[in-house]
Amino acid sequence: MAKASIEARGDLRLTRLTKTYGDFTAVDDLTLTIPKGSFFALLGPSGCGKTTTLRMIAGLEEPTAGSIHLGETDITTTKPYQRPINTVFQNYALFPHLTIFENIAFGLRRRGQKDVKEAVDKVLNLVELPHLAERKPTQLSGGQQQRIALARAIVNRPALLLLDEPLGALDLKLRRQMQIELKWIQKEVGLTFVHVTHDQEEAMTMADTIAVMNEGQIEQMGSPAELYDNPETAYVANFLGQSNLIKGIISGNDGDSLIVDLYGQKIALPKNRSHAIDNSTYAGIRPEKFRISLLETPVHGNVLTGGRIEDVSYIGVSTQYQVEMPWGQELMVFEQNDDGVAPFNKGDAVNISWAPTFTFALRGDEDVTAGSEVQPQDIDEE
């Protein structure tokens, strides 16, 4: 089995995967298929079970129940060193006593490859650090260490590459740059990448498919655009970007649309964007989908009247407004500064409008704060 498992290739399938620590369930009955060649992101706040999932795939934790298959091979209980899976660790875990060259050659040598020079040089070129081969890890900057950790993993041509918050230790600018490079490298080498992160922007930039995790389960899975445009739960709506969620009652049907009553004002939304199970619902609209207009300006689509501008923040590309509605809720509105029109002022009485297709509807029994009070900043996992 050991010989076979290291040659395994194909889709990664997690079946009813569960991991408990005493009373605490870190991963709860998770079933998931990650297609070969994809860039897959597990996204969620600390403690959501994403790192535990990753560690079970790597073989660093043993599942309490369930199975992990790579292609047709069951790798649930194989040792980490018998899996064709490599990891880019959170703080890189470079071997401090070995040179960069030997760090990268480590996996090749363990697999009995005699002539490693060519492969190591090639991957050092790929990460654009060939001049650092003889340095020790402590002599490298964070960004350089990150690339070496990546090189050390991909030089082995694994079936699957796991990235555990790989950019968490880098500053913002470097992180953006590495996001683009990682995506490019993934295309270049054609490996399956599984990326664990708490940073929604990082996941959206890089991944083909994102699975949003919450309390050990997958809340929603899909392409970045699907998740952003049509979140199924308040948790996803709040964790991925920001959302305005307004309480309402589904009051009728109009062909492909539902009519929703929001505190006495009627709006429409496409039926296929509703996830409500009964009449009660929360209508959700992303802040940048709103348009603000003064009372006398005619508008199309859905309109909410009676707003009053409470706060204006000018931030260059856009202006952010807080608009207080007659029922007391403050809505968030982002307006692009691309039309040369002077911004609205605090105290202006305004209407808010948007296209019905941008609306989504959540279940009425949801906790509207779910996913919003978690601070994406704290990286400490489990």
């Binding site: 569960t18 408990t20 009955d29 043993e62 199975s67 649930t76």
Partner: protein
């Protein structure tokens, strides 16, 4: 939710493989238990035989008694030897802690010419076999016609304790964030106040640890003491000398009592420390 877990837990890993894995995972723990057993066998033996109703020589188990614990000074010389060891221990600890802490601050907090030589001078006594240190000191005392005894023993103990104090306190100083002292100075504390209000309190646990170490080294020392104490009997020397004709059970009582006393001090110290950190 619990129902779901129960369902999912059932098959997957066969029992035989599980047992094998358990042993594989716990092998090192099992090994550690054996190592601790090895460490504690003689301690347990000493403790057990402190209850032996043995009479003079405490070689064979003759029956259980609290008598030795009720009368720990019952055997001749035991308590005077213990008294000497404690006196020597306190004096050696006091002086070596002061001298060693000063050296540790000099080396750990200042850059100066001769720092590496200083480090070497601290390392040398630790690299010198006790017997060489003991013998050389005795030779010196003999040259100056100083008779071995109480004070020569104290001096000898200070010599070998200093290095250990320096190393312990230096480690504590090295672990201090230098920004704390900078912050104190930024907040209008002068050098002396900074030292008294910030540095010293933070290094204090290290100094306390060093003092404890010095005392236990001094209290337990035999080789160097044997060379420099002349006719004075310390507790280890008492044991060594009486080993030939059998050690009274009272020695076991004192050894065991010291063990529990020291263990209590260390554990209480750790608890206090932890509470402070929290």
């Amino acid at each position: 939710m619990s129902q779901k877990i129960k369902d999912a837990t059932i098959p997957t890993i066969p029992l035989g493989a599980r047992i094998q894995r358990w042993i594989g995972r716990n092998l090192i723990r099992i090994y550690a238990i054996f190592a601790f057993t090895y460490l504690f066998i003689p301690v347990a033996y000493t403790f057990a035989f402190s209850f032996n109703d043995s009479g003079k020589s405490n070689l064979i188990w003759k029956g259980f008694t609290f008598g030795n614990w009720q009368n720990p000074c019952g055997a001749p010389e035991v308590c005077s030897a213990l008294g000497n060891s404690i006196k020597i221990g306190f004096l050696a600890t006091f002086f070596s802690t002061i001298l060693g802490t000063m050296i540790a601050f000099a080396i750990g907090r200042h850059k100066f010419k001769g720092r590496s030589t200083s480090n070497l001078l601290i390392f040398l006594p630790m690299a010198t076999p006790e017997i060489v240190m003991g013998a050389s000191l005795l030779s010196l005392f003999l040259v100056f016609k100083i008779n071995p005894g109480f004070w020569p023993t104290v001096i000898a103990h200070i010599v070998f304790c200093i290095s250990f104090v320096v190393v312990t306190v230096k480690a504590r100083i090295a672990s201090l964030d230098p920004r704390l002292e900078q912050a104190a100075m930024d907040l209008y504390a002068n050098e002396f106040e900074t030292f008294r209000r910030v540095t010293l309190p933070l290094v204090a646990p290290g100094i306390a640890g060093a003092a404890l170490l010095a005392f236990s080294l001094s209290f337990d020392d035999f080789i160097i003491t044997n060379f420099n104490s002349g006719t004075l009997t310390t507790f280890p020397k008492f044991i060594y000398v009486s080993a030939a004709r059998g050690i009274p059970a009272q020695a076991n009582v004192i050894g065991s009592a010291m063990f529990f006393l020291a263990l209590t001090i260390v554990i209480v110290g750790q608890l206090v420390n932890r509470r402070k950190v929290r």
